[in-house]
């Protein structure tokens, strides 16, 4: 009871009771201690000499980046094209795999609870593992190149698209599904008439959204050898050609902004 009465009989109002207040303080204290502990671990593993030097290093870095070596840009069109292809083809492949997985994972369309658990496991594994890790693995298996990047992007997209899509499927209105079942439609027909039209806008939106994230992710896959502009980035950094690095940064910046703008426009038009 937040309202209590004093000995004089006047009621006092407090936001929380004393007990809740103390529990709150304790929780904050515990969180603070945890934070400090974590900080200590980090600080133990840090060479503070380098950190003191950070300002000078930073300004040095910027001075080396400027002015950008713009003539380098014409050698970046092909890698950029590769990057776009990795993102787009990876997204298409990922969506194609995520679509059935989402239907198997949604509570209202799954054929069996066991199948649902398996589908959820696929989704969570794919979500937990960053596309860069997938790329590292695939490069050791398939060899360096665009293909490893495409598959890495696809594998990471399954979880993202699958999760959002199965949540959308679970949120559909049940009555049209009931009505379609009542006409004597088969299971697949119920899916295609009762469920699919209801989730199609969400599906399109999620796909475009993931495509725009994938453009961003595919810019770095080259760091581990999986194709795209990341390869050039890696080479430029290794040879300390920072004025080339800044050109690459500008390219990435513009491309990502453009894809984000396109994706936002498309999603706005759909809904």
């Amino acid at each position: 009871m937040p309202v209590s009465t004093t000995t004089q009989g006047t009621p006092i109002w407090r936001l929380r009771t004393t007990r809740a207040q103390w529990l709150g303080y304790l929780a904050w204290l515990a969180a603070g201690c945890l934070f400090l502990l974590c900080w200590k671990v980090i600080s133990d593993n840090t060479m503070w000499v380098f950190v003191e030097d950070a300002g000078r290093q930073g300004s040095d870095l910027i001075s080396r980046m400027l002015p950008p070596e713009w003539t380098y840009a014409h050698r970046l069109w092909k890698p950029m094209w590769d990057t776009m292809n990795i993102a787009t083809l990876g997204t298409v492949l990922g969506i194609a795999m995520a679509f059935p997985v989402a239907f198997l994972a949604a509570r209202n369309t799954t054929p069996h609870p066991l199948v649902r658990s398996a589908a959820l496991l696929i989704i969570v594994s794919s979500r937990s593992i960053n596309s860069l890790i997938w790329a590292m693995l695939l490069v050791t298996i398939l060899g360096p190149g665009v293909l490893a990047g495409i598959i890495a992007i696809a594998l990471r997209s399954i979880g993202f698209v699958g999760k959002l899509l199965y949540e959308a499927i679970e949120e559909i209105h049940p009555t049209p599904v009931e009505a379609i079942s009542a006409t004597g439609a088969s299971r697949l027909q119920v899916m295609s008439y009762g469920v699919l039209p209801q989730v199609l806008p969400a599906f399109a939106g999620i796909s475009v959204y993931r495509w725009d994230i994938n453009i961003r992710e595919s810019t770095v896959l080259g760091l581990v050898g999986a194709g795209g502009i990341g390869l050039q980035l890696n080479a430029a950094i290794n040879s300390l050609a920072w004025n080339q690095v800044s050109v690459i940064f500008v390219m990435i910046f513009v491309t990502v902004l453009a894809s984000e703008w396109i994706s936002a426009r498309v999603r706005h038009a759909i809904t």
């Binding site: 009555t175 049209p176 079942s181 006409t183 004597g184 008439y193």
Partner: protein, 281 residues
């Protein structure tokens, strides 16, 4: 034509929705099913087309025992029963024509239905039905662009495209205004007469039930407590179905008052709510 005997439905939670229902519906009869909310009306008609599985008992449509069917046979049996829903249950993002044609899903293969390649006779029949319910101009409109009454007409056309022997109608007028409600009930009634269709209509509005049904059954707590002609429904039987209430009062009057009260009180809680959230910090 439709015979229910000893039908019982118990939900996994242990709630008994229906207890030993015995009911026979001859061909061509329109029966209204009335009763308070939660009496089991919806469960009863959903047991007939097995959207809800009855726990025990037998349901026969013509010569077919419905409770034992599964898979393909169940789908074939469902074709013979058209269903009309309270919230219309149209697929909002499909066009009116697609919604009506979905009544034929039980008779076309998956790919044909997926690619919307319906046989010509289905299309002709669908269009004829749309003309009959007064919406031939709307074939290419999306279902969510229609008004409530129009949507329910599409729902009726979809059910009739199944060419059913029986209509299961679940609260067809609950979301409609009084005038549209009457039009929809009249339409259902006429169509049943034209096609000699039997129908079970769940309905809240006793006056509509009296006006449009051949027979009225009253359901209370999962049991049938009244079954007879509309004229036989008097204040006493209404009390057995719904409980104590002054049934003699002019009905439109009390309803009007209730509506007034509802609209005037609906303003107040809203302001109270926003004050409460504003002050909750």
């Amino acid at each position: 034509m439709l015979t229910l005997s000893q039908v019982t439905k118990r939900y996994p939670t242990g709630d008994r929705a229906l207890t030993d229902i015995d009911l026979t519906l001859p061909a061509g009869q329109v029966m209204a099913l009335i009763g308070p909310s939660g009496a089991g009306k919806s469960t009863l008609i959903r047991c007939v087309n097995r959207l809800v599985e009855p726990t025990s008992g037998s349901i026969r449509l013509g010569d077919t025992e419905l409770t034992r069917l599964s898979g393909r046979e169940l789908r074939r049996a469902r074709r013979a029963m058209g269903m009309i829903f309270q919230e219309y249950a149209l697929v909002d993002r499909l066009t009116v024509m697609e919604n009506v044609l979905s009544g034929r899903l039980g008779q076309v293969g998956f790919w044909r239905s997926f690619l919307r390649r319906y046989p010509a006779d289905a299309v002709t029949e669908a269009f004829r039905l749309l003309e009959r319910v007064g919406l031939p101009h709307a074939i290419d409109k999306r279902a969510d662009a229609l008004s409530g009454g129009q949507r329910q007409r599409v729902g009726i056309a979809r059910a009739l495209l199944q060419d059913p022997q029986l209509l299961l109608v679940d609260e067809p007028t609950a979301s409609l205004d009084p005038k549209t409600s009457r039009q929809i009930m009249r339409l259902i009634r006429e169509l049943c007469a034209e096609r000699e269709l039997g129908a079970i209509i769940n309905i809240h509005d006793v006056a509509l039930a009296r006006q449009f049904a051949d027979r009225i059954a009253g359901l209370r707590a999962g049991e049938i407590v009244f079954d007879g002609r509309p004229e036989a429904l008097d204040a006493e039987t209404l009390t057995t179905i719904y409980g104590e209430e002054n049934w003699g009062e002019e009905e439109w009057d009390t309803q009007g008052q209730a509506a007034d009260e509802a609209s005037s009180s609906s303003v107040e809680p809203a302001t109270r709510l926003s004050l409460a959230t504003g002050g909750a910090s």
